[in-house]
């Protein structure tokens, strides 16, 4: 299993990657959508965890680009949006089960990653 983390907050994404690797997950990270697209050029990923709000290309637009290359790739989205209304609006777009609000709980993230991978295997 290989996971790609993308968030424009380098300190966040690099620390999160380290914590996931301690939990046995093969993880790579990128701080821009351009970097993420470069990474998928020579490596295959099962799951991408994307920040929704990033400069230039946000998480949803990045998903559209990644899925063209890897139609089987699964996605989890995260954001710093605070309000209940924001949560509902975004959850409607991406699906509540694939959506996490920052600050993240690492165990919940690992659980979500495993859930989407299991779904992938079933499909």
């Amino acid at each position: 299993m290989r996971v790609l983390l993308v968030d424009d907050e380098i300190e966040l994404v690099s620390t999160l990657a380290e914590r996931l690797s301690f939990r046995g997950i093969d993880v790579q990270w990128a701080s821009t959508s351009a970097e993420a697209l470069a990474k998928v050029e020579n490596q295959c990923f099962d799951v991408a965890v994307l920040d929704l709000r990033m400069p230039k290309i946000g998480g949803l637009a990045l998903k559209d680009k990644l899925i063209k290359k890897y139609p089987e790739m699964k996605f989890i989205f995260c954001t710093g949006y605070g309000s209940e209304e924001d949560f509902k609006a975004i959850a409607r777009q991406v699906g509540e089960e694939y959506y996490l609000v920052k600050p993240l709980d690492i165990e919940t993230l690992v659980e979500k990653i495993n859930t989407v991978l299991e779904q992938n295997l079933k499909e």
Partner: protein, 221 residues
């Protein structure tokens, strides 16, 4: 007129909300980083309990990273607080350089999203003016946003401040581009109301191609 005044109030409120929302999002990011770094310290401690050697340098780096984020959060909160208090009184003396620097800092995240860099140059001396701070912030924001949207991607919006005669000026220049007179979409209705309230003018310097916001140095309300 009543409608336009209400419109101006709505725009002011929207502007206020936009700044608060953007900054609370920034604070969420700071908290998320602190959360991960604290989590990593916990992970390392648990691993140490199982016999993995704890690297003191790693812990020191994490602690330094936490300090950086706490300072970052503190700076955001100070700016938000300063901005919030600008609505306290109708008119008082402000340092135009400080107020402009605050608006530039508040606009940084929006600039990043538009792939534009903001470069503010201060004059050699401080520049105090009597004005309505919140309306001036709204007006500077409108000019700054218009400049950012006019700028080409990956270019710089250069902001300079000076004081010709009994006026004060903010100049917005574009690297590799010029504002052309007359402007098609700026200033809009609400910006015009802010200009009227501050007896300000927005013009184009045909020589330099800069957008100029000219303000009276001593506003008589």
């Amino acid at each position: 007129m009543e409608n336009s005044t209400q419109g101006s109030k709505d725009d002011s409120l929207r502007f206020f909300g936009k700044i608060v929302a953007s900054n609370s999002h920034e604070i969420k990011n700071v908290m998320a980083i602190i959360n991960e770094k604290a989590g990593l310290i916990k992970d390392l401690t648990l691993m140490a309990e199982k016999g993995v050697v704890l690297d003191p340098a790693k812990i020191q780096t994490l602690a330094e990273g936490l300090n950086i984020q706490i300072k970052r959060g503190d700076a955001i909160i100070k700016d938000m607080n300063k901005f919030a208090h600008s609505v306290d009184k109708d008119s008082y003396q402000v340092d135009l350089c400080e107020l402009t620097a605050l608006m530039v800092r508040l606009a940084e995240r929006f600039a990043l999203r538009l792939s534009v860099t903001l470069d503010l140059k201060f004059p050699e001396t401080t520049l105090k003016i009597n004005t309505h701070p919140f309306i001036l912030e709204s007006l500077i924001w409108d000019c700054l946003f218009f400049a950012m949207e006019t700028s080409a991607k990956n270019q710089t919006v250069n902001i300079t401040i000076n004081k010709p005669g009994d006026t004060a000026e903010l100049r917005f220049g574009l690297t590799g581009n010029r504002f052309t007179d007359p402007l098609q979409s700026f200033p809009g209705d609400s910006t015009k109301i802010f200009m009227k309230k501050l007896q300000a003018k927005v013009l184009i310097d045909s020589e330099t191609g800069e957008l100029v916001l000219r303000l009276p140095a001593d506003l008589q309300l």
